[in-house]
């Protein structure tokens, strides 16, 4: 299909229209100004800059985990699963329940880390189960419905999850101790919290495992085939329903991991924590190119870093503008590069 589409609309070799040029120039200009500003800050206060980077990578890892859930599901059934952020929130509550309420693990002992590992496994499993159940009970029935129907269903599920959050965690913010607290170490004048080592130490192997599954396993092949063409995948003998359920399971498990790790750095959660985080992660997924796994990871880290550079005053806006900065990125992307950093232009899609 893409072939014929291109044949009908041959790309001219001459210069693109002035409007397109202007758009491109504006986009690049804005990026250049931002970059220049950051370089100036880096030279002026290198340690604060590096500190913001470290924090940025820390939250970025969590954004990346959540963003993958958005991008996996979008990649396979073109649904923006708006309830995903709230699934993450439920995971924070569940993780706190397992790690702290049940086992009382709040200190960095061997047992504490054992409990954390157990909490990760339990939360990932349950979040995966909830996500698969949502697919099975709601989205699967709507697969042939107009696109708005599953989207509204996702928003509805988001309320259901939030209600679950209120019921289990209360209507206010709850603080939970982490294993590592504020402890950290200093490298070349930059203080690094131990919790960051924990978060990245869990996240990066998880991300690599996921990439490996998608690239190299039979199940991963089935996922990629289903994402490109469901009927053709069926004709290869792929069980499309099971493959989609598996994708929801992987996305849910990653949200589960993100929930547990989030508590270990942020130390509090609330029933609406998934809303902001979910939107950030969604922005990350779009920034990288929705549907692209590497894009979601890149976008997650970038959003985390940009947000923290802004929080720490490295950008000229200041902390109270952080949300504005992040969502401005989303809007600018829609205008200048809707396919995201690593994405293909959508016209190429079959």
């Amino acid at each position: 299909m893409s072939q014929t589409a291109e044949a009908h609309a041959p790309r001219s070799r001459s210069l693109p229209a002035p409007r397109v040029l202007l758009e491109k120039a504006t986009g690049l200009g804005l990026v250049a100004i931002l970059g220049l500003w950051l370089v100036v800050q880096l030279v002026r206060t290198p340690e604060r800059f590096a500190g913001a980077l470290v924090e940025g990578v820390n939250v970025g890892a969590i954004y990346a985990l959540i963003a993958l859930g958005y991008t996996l599901v979008y990649g396979i059934i073109e649904l923006i699963n708006f309830s995903h952020g709230d699934l993450f929130m439920l995971s924070t509550v569940l993780g706190a329940f397992v790690v702290i309420t049940v086992f009382g693990a709040t200190s960095p002992t061997l047992g504490g880390f054992g409990v954390l590992a157990l909490g990760l496994v339990v939360t990932m499993t349950l979040a995966a189960t909830v996500n698969v159940a949502a697919e099975r009970l709601a989205y699967r029935r709507l697969r042939k419905a107009p696109k708005l129907a599953p989207l509204i269903t996702a928003v509805g599920l988001s309320f259901v999850y939030q209600w679950g959050g209120v019921r289990t965690n209360g209507s206010g913010q709850k603080t939970w101790d982490s294993l590592l607290g504020d402890s950290g170490f200093t490298v070349a004048g930059i203080s690094v919290p131990w919790s960051m080592v924990l978060v990245t130490g869990v996240t990066i192997p998880l991300l690599m495992l996921m990439m490996w599954i998608v690239q190299n396993t039979r199940q991963g092949k089935a996922m990629r085939a289903t994402a490109q063409d469901q009927d053709a995948a069926r004709l290869m003998g792929i069980d499309v329903d099971r493959t989609i359920a598996f994708t929801f399971a992987v996305g849910g498990a990653l949200a589960g991991a993100a929930g547990v790790l989030y508590l270990q750095t942020v130390e509090n959660t609330r029933w609406d924590a998934g809303f902001r985080l979910g939107l950030y992660a969604f922005t990350a997924a779009v920034l990288g190119g929705i549907g692209r796994l590497d894009g979601a990871v890149l976008g997650g880290f970038l959003i985390g870093i940009i947000q923290n550079l802004n929080d720490s005053g490295m950008l000229p806006f200041g902390q109270k503008w952080s949300q504005t900065v992040v969502f401005t990125i989303l809007i600018m992307l829609m205008v200048f590069r809707p396919e995201g950093l690593l994405g293909r232009p959508t016209t190429e899609k079959v």
Binding site: Q3, R218, A222, R224, A225, R234, M236
Partner: protein
């Protein structure tokens, strides 16, 4: 007494064992009937073709056989048991591979990955390797482009890939939908020669074609569909001479 089983019409067709039979098939898209009471049979080792103009219900019939659409009425029986209610992947597992209309290759995967996916359900690594060699022998062009993204292939190459991918499933019955669509005349000949080779290597073929002349030349038996119903059937050689067919479909 043993002779009586051979006389039963549902088990034998044209002196061959019935591999696939479709009886009184009705398929709807929403409220629109695409196939209205089609009955046909394919014998083991045959090339059977389904010809007819655009929208006659040919592709819909194939899509129903391979489980992509459910029939509203009627049955599809393969090797003696009904497959009309089976999900698509189970039908592939039973040995029916389908090279669909519009090729439907995976554009963002390489030629090799596409062919590997054709063998998705197979566990016999040695057999898969042998079939890969066989497919690359049938279509040497694919060998040259083996690590290229399938979306960058020419139309003819994509068609070869679609047929080759279906063959990688080691089908007992191969469903081919418009394999000559949009191909240069040289390639059309190549594709039809290949279909004969595939049959000679032991695969039964059900071929859907708009290029009726070429289809009748390669097939043993033909069914002519018109707006969802069976209009005519007969040995391909006879239909090629039939005045009505010639006038309607062969431009004579």
């Amino acid at each position: 007494m043993s002779a009586t089983t051979d006389d039963r019409p549902e088990l034998r067709v044209r002196d061959r064992e019935v591999l696939l039979s479709v009886t009184d098939l009705y398929v709807h898209y929403g409220n629109i009937a695409a196939v209205k009471g089609v009955t046909l049979a394919v014998g083991t080792g045959e090339i059977v073709t389904l010809i007819g103009s655009n929208g006659a219900g040919k592709s819909t019939t194939l899509r129903t056989i391979s489980g992509l659409i459910r029939p509203r009425r009627g049955d599809v029986v393969y090797r003696g048991s009904s497959i009309a209610a089976l999900p698509g992947h189970r039908i592939v597992a039973a040995g029916i591979c389908h090279s669909p209309e519009g090729r439907r290759i995976f554009p963002r995967m390489t030629v090799r990955e596409n062919l590997d996916l054709g063998a998705y359900l197979r566990r016999d690594a040695a057999g898969v390797t042998a079939d890969l060699d066989r497919v690359l022998d049938l279509f040497p062009r694919l060998k040259e482009r083996i690590d290229q993204k399938a979306g960058t292939l020419s139309g003819g190459e994509q068609q070869m890939l679609a047929v080759g991918r279906a063959l990688m499933g080691d089908p007992t019955l191969l469903l081919l939908d418009e394999p000559s669509m949009g191909l240069a005349p040289v390639l059309v000949d190549l594709i039809f020669d290949t279909i004969r080779t595939i049959r000679d290597q032991g695969t039964t073929v059900l071929l859907v074609e708009q290029n009726a002349l070429a289809a009748l030349r390669v097939a043993d038996y033909a069914y002519v569909l018109e707006s969802g119903t069976l209009k005519l059937e007969g040995p391909a050689r006879d239909l090629a001479k039939d005045e009505e067919v010639t006038r309607a479909y062969l431009g004579g």
